[in-house]
Point group: C2
Chain length 199, copies 2
């Protein structure tokens, strides 16, 4: 019974994830995964072309999870502005409460990313299109002012990534409170797009 409950492929993915979370991505070698699964290292190659392919599959999973998380949070908001801010807030919340999963998406082998087809990021684009929609709606209703919603959404995403990276990678100055930093950064990013009526 080598394929007890899960298939070997699933067991490899699950073990990789666990190993990645617990030991960090430096400890993630084909042999370490195989040892944990209880199989030979080369067996992994029966299901994945190479390590990049394996990592990329993991990334896809994390992206999917992030998307679902954001979509769920956004559904609970009512107004456009709320959905917009909730989208942004949820992104950061996911990243900061699941730093390991977030790291998988952005920090694990950036060189592996460039080697793989961009089409695979369709899922990631899903919740990004969501944001574009909110901005377009906000602009239509005169609540936001932005030149190009598509670019704006990407810009927001990039800025959020920057804020999150700094926090996660612990590059933040000791003198600065983490939560305050995140809060003020988000405020600035969000407020920059809203028409100043409430202020």
């Amino acid at each position: 019974m080598s394929h007890a409950d899960q298939s070997l492929r699933e067991r490899i993915l699950q073990t990789s994830r666990t190993l990645l979370y617990s030991q960090g991505h430096l400890a993630l070698s084909m042999r370490s995964i195989a040892k944990e699964v209880g199989v030979s290292a080369t067996s992994i190659y029966l299901y994945f072309d190479n390590k990049d392919h394996l990592l990329h599959t993991l990334i896809e999973e994390s992206v999917e999870e992030l998307s679902v998380f954001i979509e769920d949070k956004v559904l609970q908001a009512t107004t456009v502005v709320d959905k917009f801010t909730e989208n942004i807030r949820a992104y950061v919340e996911f990243a900061l409460t699941n730093p390991e999963k977030y790291q998988i998406i952005y920090n694990v082998h950036p060189e592996a990313m460039s080697r793989y087809p961009k089409e695979k990021f369709r899922k990631a684009r899903r919740c990004y299109e969501l944001l574009v929609g909110f901005i377009e709606e906000g602009v239509a209703k005169g609540l936001m002012e932005v030149a190009n919603p598509v670019i704006a959404a990407y810009s927001i995403w990039a800025q959020l990534h920057g804020v999150v990276s700094v926090v996660i990678n612990q590059r933040l100055d000791n003198r600065i409170d983490r939560d305050l930093f995140v809060q003020e950064s988000l405020d600035h990013i969000v407020q920059g797009f809203l028409v100043r009526s409430t202020v």
Copy 2:
């Protein structure tokens, strides 16, 4: 004459830099450096504790170069707002025109960073303190509105890093023009801090 002109230490650093720029950081191994320098791999250990130490020295150099570049650009500006925006613009300009050097700072072995003392980033903090100064001056003159200049400066830095990373790591959507994206992102980041008098 083993120490012909430069010391061996300097030749190792120079070669590492060149190798890093031309081949990417995946190709940077102790043996590849040594081979290029014309010396045995273990000789590197006479001048650097380990590979992390070597990389960290390279990072320090890039940080220094970035600082000097920004300081130089800022000196050419006159008004506070100009200095502020020029500081931001210069950061991005350096990153996009010297992606390899920028990558050294942020992308080369992030795990190596956490192992090294934060004090070494004093130099990086130099041009960061510069930005804090501009913000404080801007606030004092009623040109900018920000709650906490120190946090604001860090937030700007993080957001810029995000924008730059997305561009450099080619995670930008094909449909989006690179320069336009950078320009709009910068506009948004800068405008978010200025008091809306000119708009």
